[in-house]
């Protein structure tokens, strides 16, 4: 392994020519000039336009579907019933029929002719009200229940006790056991599961599903002994991804069993199997392509129902290309929700700020399935805890991963509660955080987590001038009050499985093929930086092909796993290819291959740099056989790590008459191991902060209880921040010793976690009272100041 590390490891700081430098994104010129082609821009010859009939009901049975009139309309080439008679609809806006026609107006006219009869069923969209009198869940555990327990780091003895007492609803297959083993589930737990009685799942009419209470330490004793106990309620509503490029695809059949899909996806390599299953064709007959994607944020990993029916209606239309892109209302209604989370929290502490006890009763929805409990207490592992989560099943729409799933919610609730503790203690929350920072480090910590947080907090405090600007809560007599708030956050971000094929040709050209995708995170730029740095070439000399499942497979871009995956597979491919090239030309340079280096567009002898050969001349010696190397991740050498931390501080002004919050400034200090592409990395952090501002102040999926429909399926009232709303933004990346040697770690999720909590805390600090729920709109601020119950709306 040591040899592999020497061979493949990242170059030392002084040897990096491109890695870590600020380089403009390589697809910038195409994007700024409107030449970049997104799925929505694909216009295939003879392409038809799809229009979807959607259910107005949040919960209903489809009684009948009559498409006869639509099929007869001239210009209509295909009608496909997605959910026929007998189907059950679980959210308003769900897809029922798709029409393909020669142009969009015709498709719309045809859709209007389709008659669908529904039998409405009772719906439930209230995730905000606190669940009351929810029966203890005593039935057998589902896979979901267990997943929740694992996700919440439930202690083994608790899991085993529950499994033994309640039984389970599924049989543990050997594959399942292996998967659990791979995911570090203990042998004792697996054994208990294998031995557990398998029972029928219990059904219930209640939307509420109480999950198993989780206890750690002795919370009762700890609260009794606590010198101060702070209680509060906190939470955030369901929000939607609102990708600017909506979900959708262009599907066509190149022959009777080969399907080609241009699709807006975060998962180019991973879709063929999903298509194959839905369309009943061999996986190898599915071609997936995407050049650019207009936002995903966690919501574009699957082919989705619409991916499948776009292909189905294309088949009905004789295989002609059909484009179905979700319209904005559908995009907001059906294409993804971030689960809500609300919690009543009690925190116990000593007078000096030492945190001793945590209790939370939380609830939230992720749509029909209920939704997971956010990790709490977030980051700080308070010694004594009692946690109870109730999942609320609703007809709000299906949940999807949304940058750093569950973390922002857990962070908001935890950091808000801790700021309230600090206020109760009349203590600077920064001091409270520093006092308890050791709680962030697990006992087996190999990554200097607590030190990182401490360093990041101190840097952030400097950048926002915390010492000078922070004051105890709610001081001052001006109408407009200013406040500061903070939060810390974490994420894993280990690179996913990746394959990178790199070839060097006799004319000197270099080609990379990788079945990845660039979400606008700078993946293209990062791959080229790694390859260029390794081969000693400027990035313009390397051709990169990605966005196609005919290239070597790469993982989906989610969970901040892309940079670790593609940088290490590319590094390995480039090192192997370079080695082959060195072997080829070493004799001509009268040297051993191991004595050569590739620098500045030439290959030279390390000890005698004057003995060199230009890249072009070197490649000319390859003759007819290009060099081809396949780099993989995981692969030889330790190139990547997992686990990062970040600190966010916000400075806001609140007009206490109007309740309007203005961002003055926000700072994010973030580590992510070795930074490959500095400019796009910084952009990720800026973007995360801005997204956080929108989430904190504006965003909410508003549902009408009677109708079960979304009231703001548009960008008028589903509000995003504008350029004037974000204040000054400062990004500081932790680099150098202690960070670089960890190798690249993903950055997409972590900085999105802290902003909500930091801004919420800044508002509380400014006005002297907690605005418990997001978004922090004027009505909520005004109500909080009046001491009112904030359960408005």
């Amino acid at each position: 392994m040591a040899d592999d590390n020497t061979k493949y490891g990242w170059p030392a700081a002084e040897q990096r020519t491109l890695i870590g430098k600020s380089i403009s994104r390589v697809d910038g010129p195409d994007k700024v000039s409107g030449r970049a082609k997104y799925t929505y821009d694909v216009h295939r010859p003879g392409m038809l336009y799809g229009k979807v009939v959607r259910s107005p009901h949040a919960h209903a049975k489809v009684v009948s579907v009559d498409v006869a009139a639509a099929e007869k309309l001239p210009g209509v080439k295909g009608v496909y019933i997605i959910q026929d008679k007998g189907s059950e609809i679980h959210w308003a806006g769900d897809d029922v029929v798709v029409v393909a026609a020669v142009d969009e107006p015709t498709a719309a006219d045809a859709a209007r002719l389709i008659k669908v009869e529904y039998q409405p069923l009772p719906h439930f969209v209230d995730d905000f009200s606190e669940p009351k009198n929810v029966a203890e869940n005593t039935g057998p555990l589902t896979q979901r229940d267990l997943f929740q327990m694992f996700n919440n780091d439930a202690e083994d003895d608790q899991v085993i006790a529950a499994v033994q007492k309640r039984g389970i609803t599924f049989k543990v297959t050997p594959e399942m056991a292996q998967r659990m083993k791979d995911n570090e589930v203990s042998n004792e737990v697996i054994k208990a599961l294998q031995a557990a009685p398998v029972k029928e799942a219990e059904t219930t009419d209640s939307p509420y599903k109480k999950e198993t209470e989780q206890v750690k330490g002795d919370p009762d004793a700890a609260f009794k002994e606590a010198e101060v106990v702070s209680e509060g309620v906190y939470g955030c509503p369901v929000i939607t991804h609102c990708c600017l490029e909506s979900h959708g695809s262009v599907a066509e059949w190149t022959d009777s069993d080969h399907m080609f899909s241009h699709i807006s996806t975060q998962n180019v390599s991973g879709l063929a199997g999903q298509f194959a299953q839905a369309l009943k064709i061999p996986e190898s007959n599915v071609h997936v392509h995407q050049d650019h994607i207009g936002g995903g944020f966690g919501s574009k990993f699957g082919i989705d129902r619409w991916g499948a029916y776009t292909a189905q209606v294309s088949k009905k239309a004789g295989g002609k290309p059909v484009r179905v892109m979700l319209e904005r209302d559908a995009e907001l209604e059906v294409a993804g929700c971030r689960p809500s989370a609300f919690a009543k929290v009690k925190v116990g502490a000593k007078k000096d700020g030492t945190l001793t006890a945590w209790q939370s009763d939380s609830w939230g929805t992720g749509g029909p399935g209920g939704g997971g409990a956010p990790p709490m207490p977030y980051v700080l592992n308070i010694p004594n805890q009692r946690k109870q989560h109730t999942a609320v099943a609703t007809n709000i729409g299906p949940a999807r991963a949304w940058r750093a799933p569950n973390h922002p919610q857990g962070c908001l609730i935890t950091m808000s509660a801790l700021e309230d503790v600090a206020a109760k203690l009349n203590m600077d929350p920064l001091q409270l955080m520093l006092k308890n920072i050791a709680l962030t480090a697990p006992s087996e910590d190999t990554y200097h987590r607590a030190d990182t947080y401490r360093d990041e907090l101190m840097i952030a405090a400097d950048l926002i001038d915390w010492k000078k600007n922070w004051h105890p809560r709610g001081q001052g007599t001006d109408t407009t009050k200013r406040g500061l708030g903070l939060a810390i956050h974490t994420w894993g971000g280990r690179g996913h499985n990746s394959n990178c094929e790199l070839s060097i040709h006799s004319d000197g050209s270099v080609n990379i093929k990788i079945g990845s995708q660039d979400l606008g995170t700078g993946t293209r730029t990062a791959i080229l930086i790694v390859a260029g740095d390794t081969l000693g070439l400027p990035i313009e000399r390397i051709q990169l092909n990605l966005g196609d499942n005919q290239y070597p497979a790469d993982g989906g871009s989610g969970g901040s796993t892309t940079i670790g995956g593609v940088s290490s597979s590319t590094r390995r491919a480039a090192i192997d290819a370079r080695e082959q090239l060195f072997a080829k030309i070493a004799p001509a340079l009268k040297a051993q291959p191991g004595d050569l280096e590739a620098v500045g567009g030439s290959i030279r002898v390390k000890s005698a740099p004057s003995r060199s050969m230009s890249w072009k001349d070197a490649c000319a010696r390859l003759g007819t056989q290009p060099i081809q190397a396949l780099g993989k991740n995981p692969g030889p050498g330790d190139l990547i790590s997992s686990g990062v931390g970040g600190a966010v501080m916000a400075d806001v002004s609140v007009d206490t008459e109007t309740g309007i919050v203005k961002m003055n400034k926000m700072v994010c200090v973030q580590d992510c191991g070795l930074i490959i592409s500095m400019k796009t990395a910084e952009s990720q952090v800026y973007g995360a902060m801005i997204m956080g501002i929108a989430t904190t102040l504006y965003e909410e999926k508003v549902m009408d209880a009677n109708l079960g429909q979304m009231l703001n399926p548009n960008m008028d009232f589903y509000r995003l921040a504008g350029i004037g709303d974000v204040g000054e933004l400062v990004v500081h990346m932790m680099t150098g010793k202690g960070y670089d040697e960890r190798g690249p770690i993903g950055l997409g999720e972590p900085p999105t976690v802290g902003p909500m909590a930091a801004i919420g805390n800044a508002v509380a600090n400014a006005i002297g009272v907690r605005v418990p729920f997001l978004p922090i709109t004027p009505d909520r601020v005004v109500n909080a100041l009046k001491g009112g119950n904030n359960a408005t709306v």
Partner: protein, 220 residues
């Protein structure tokens, strides 16, 4: 009135539109319309306001079927047969393959479809193509291309004022219109002058720098 002959529609463009058929694709024919509204399109109710209208001709009526539409985009004349209900945005994207302007909200809110009409920024999703015929239209493609980028486009690259890039063309065009009116903008002016566009990835920090850089660059 049902028996009135249909008058061929008139328009500024030289091409005479074909008489719109009572096409079942639209579901409504002009003849139907006359029945429904009880108003004759061919004979405006000029009796109430004098005979002047007759003297200078009758108002042109087009559609509802396809009619010839001719647009002046990036200095080129582009023609197509379109129903009056087709927006400028959809015409640009689906008829002329000018896909720089994006369809995002399609309701005049997000700014991704921004183009210039006679030098002014407009939401092309909220303009009918048939109503855009007399204007000089500039799309993001007309501002510059890779290799010959407009200084604003270069500034967006230099300051990484984009991530997924879906809002970028709209922002670039809005910035062009904004800087034409505010060659030396203040931060306060930027807040409002570019308030008609939204970015989801969160690239405003780079955008603010890009706008300032472009303002300083000659020729922006």
């Amino acid at each position: 009135m049902d028996d009135l002959p249909e008058k061929p529609a008139k328009h500024e463009q030289s091409d005479k539109p074909k008489k719109s058929k009572s096409s079942s694709s639209s579901g409504v024919s002009r003849r139907d319309f006359l029945k429904i509204s009880g108003v004759s399109a061919a004979v405006p109710l000029i009796s109430h306001v004098g005979a002047l209208a007759m003297a200078e001709g009758e108002p042109a009526i087009h559609g509802p079927g396809k009619v010839p539409v001719s647009l002046n985009v990036n200095g080129k004349k582009l023609s197509a047969q379109l129903e009056p209900r087709v927006t400028l945005l959809d015409a640009l994207r689906d008829q002329f393959e000018l896909t720089g302007a994006k369809r995002v909200c399609d309701r005049g809110t997000c700014g991704a479809c921004t183009v210039l009409m006679d030098g002014k920024a407009v939401y092309s999703c909220s303009v009918l193509a048939i109503d855009a015929q007399s204007a000089q239209i500039t799309t993001v493609e007309g501002l510059g291309e890779p290799g010959h980028l407009h200084p604003i486009q270069q500034a967006f690259i230099d300051n990484d004022a984009q991530q997924c890039g879906f809002c970028t063309p709209g922002f670039v065009v809005a910035t062009k219109a904004f800087l034409d009116q505010h060659p030396n903008p203040t931060p306060e002016q930027i807040k409002h002058g570019l308030g008609g566009n939204f970015c989801r990835c969160g690239t405003y920090a780079g955008m603010r720098l890009a706008v300032m850089q472009a303002a300083k660059t000659k020729g922006a």
